[in-house]
């Protein structure tokens, strides 16, 4: 699928998840594979995988930097990505190497227009 991750900035840290649209499309999330704390991720490259009953979906980093936290709750309860994609279902926190990369992402309104186009 097209990249459907979100990033929420707090100073130089970005919290990363997938959008409500993406979780609704993927459905029935049964497994989330995330990087370990301390690993470095690069913008637009894969950092993990979400699996539904039907298929595996790659996760792409919206920004570059060091992984400083992963949502361990998802190991045993991956369904939180379905239930609460913007809060309990967050995936990782990245200390951004280049916060200016955020400027390349769609804002919420542009994203809504983009998914409206996709359908």
């Amino acid at each position: 699928m097209e990249s459907h991750e979100w990033a929420r900035q707090e100073e130089d840290v970005a919290t990363i998840g997938i959008t409500d649209y993406a979780q609704a499309e993927i459905q029935d999330i049964v497994y989330v594979e995330l990087p370990e704390v301390g690993m470095h991720v690069r913008q637009k490259t894969e950092f993990g995988v979400i699996e539904s009953v039907k298929a595996a979906f790659d996760l792409y980093a919206p920004v570059s930097g060091e992984v400083i936290a992963v949502n361990d709750m998802l190991v045993d309860a991956p369904e939180h990505v379905n239930i609460s994609p913007y809060e309990d279902g967050w995936l990782i926190k990245i200390r951004m190497a280049a916060p200016a990369e955020l400027g390349a992402l769609l804002d919420a309104d542009s994203y809504q227009a983009h998914i409206a186009d996709e359908n």
Binding site: E25, V30, V53
Partner: protein
């Protein structure tokens, strides 16, 4: 996201009903089919707990008629169709001369001069051509696929839903793999106690023109019983739990039924049939690979195409894999090597040894070996 456009694909007569139910679509064997209506897990669990309603009109129906119909089927199929009584169905395989599997089919016997084969959607044209090519007996073959709607009603509540709709018959008395020609409400129907889910259930064959009406009769009863319409997504996980092979995934023309673990449907003592020499030779020499069931020991999901290892050596490939909604673990089929150098696996195929010698395998998932074990199928047993 779930696939390409469905514009050029074939549609079943119930297409508009699925659209109105807001189905997500998938391509299967050239057909636009519902992948899911609500969620694969919800639909799967509805079939296990209550009942599910499936449009399977993409499947093919080929009629075989004439004096030689029985002989024709004995020649083309691996199971012993002479054991069929009128009103009985049988799972069987069509093989080529080298024993490779052309298709897996259900053979329905109406009378000794009238049979019907139900074949996989992607294989309808291939199977019909195969049957015509080998029709030196001179039976009458007719492809009824476009004239037929097939609706499956599967799950523990299937009997109580269907029974009041069938006048003058108690469908609970139809044994497994038997069928009756009757009416559902006013619709002439072949009511078959068969399915692909591991549950109690029926497959209902009606004239294409009556298909929508049958769905509209069954749908309210299904939802009132807590059941759901079910798409191909849950059909796949249901059949996998029940240990049922899927043609094109778990077997194909390069796989013999013996390699697919289907030897009980290959009756080598019934006399010659297409592929019997090759299958007999393979039975005597032993199969080089065999389909086994496996269960993951962690949460990673093994999927078709992933490599299978044992003691660090590559021994095969996953052919089907998915999370099991009923068992809450990840299961699948793998085709693995059986050889003298790999005693443990040859023992899987040949009989009892200490389980620890063959159980443990590893499956490579995104570059990492993940632990799994070979287990008996079916993974789940309902009916």
């Amino acid at each position: 996201m779930l696939g390409k456009g469905t514009a050029v694909m074939k549609r079943t007569p119930l297409y508009d009903i699925h659209r109105a139910l807001n189905a997500k679509w998938t391509e299967f064997g050239g057909w636009a089919m519902p992948l899911q209506y609500s969620s694969i897990v919800a639909e799967h669990l509805a079939v296990r707990a209550s009942v599910g309603l499936f449009d399977l009109s993409h499947m093919g129906e080929i009629e075989v008629r004439g004096e030689g119909a029985g002989r024709f089927l004995q020649k083309l199929s691996t199971n012993d169709s002479s054991r069929l009584k009128n009103g009985q169905a049988q799972y069987s395989l069509l093989c080529n001369e080298t024993g490779g599997t052309v298709d897996d089919v259900l053979v329905y016997r109406f009378t000794d001069t009238r049979y019907m084969l139900v074949v996989n959607a992607a294989n309808i044209a291939k199977d019909f051509a195969w049957m015509e090519t080998h029709n030196d007996i001179g039976v009458n073959l007719a492809d009824r696929s476009n004239d037929t709607v097939l609706i499956a009603l599967q799950g523990p509540n299937a009997i109580e839903i269907l029974n009041p709709l069938v006048p003058g018959a108690d469908i609970s008395e139809i044994p497994f793999f038997r069928f009756t020609e009757s009416r559902i409400a006013d619709i002439p129907a072949l009511i078959s106690r068969t399915g692909y889910t591991g549950e109690v259930g029926f497959e209902l064959y009606v004239n294409a023109a009556d298909g929508k009406e049958l769905w509209h009769i069954l749908y309210p009863a299904v939802t009132a019983a807590g059941g759901l319409p079910v798409g191909l997504g849950a059909r796949d996980t249901l059949r996998l739990e029940a240990g049922l092979r899927l043609y094109g995934m778990d077997m194909d023309e390069q796989t013999t039924p013996l390699e697919a673990g289907l030897s009980r449907f290959v009756k080598l003592d019934k006399g010659e049939f297409i592929g019997s020499d090759a299958l007999l030779a393979q039975k005597e020499s032993g199969v080089a690979r065999r389909l086994v069931g496996f269960q993951m020991r962690d949460r990673a999901v093994a999927r078709a195409g992933y490599a299978v290892y044992q003691h660090g050596a590559r021994i095969g490939t996953v052919t089907s894999g998915a999370p099991s909604p009923t068992l809450k673990c990840n299961i699948g089929f793998a085709s693995i090597t059986v050889s003298r150098d790999n005693r443990s696996n040859s023992i899987v195929a040949r009989g009892p040894v200490p389980r620890a010698r063959y159980k443990a395998i590893d499956i490579e998932i995104r570059g990492k070996l993940r632990p799994a074990e070979i287990v008996k199928v079916p993974f789940y047993r309902g009916e």
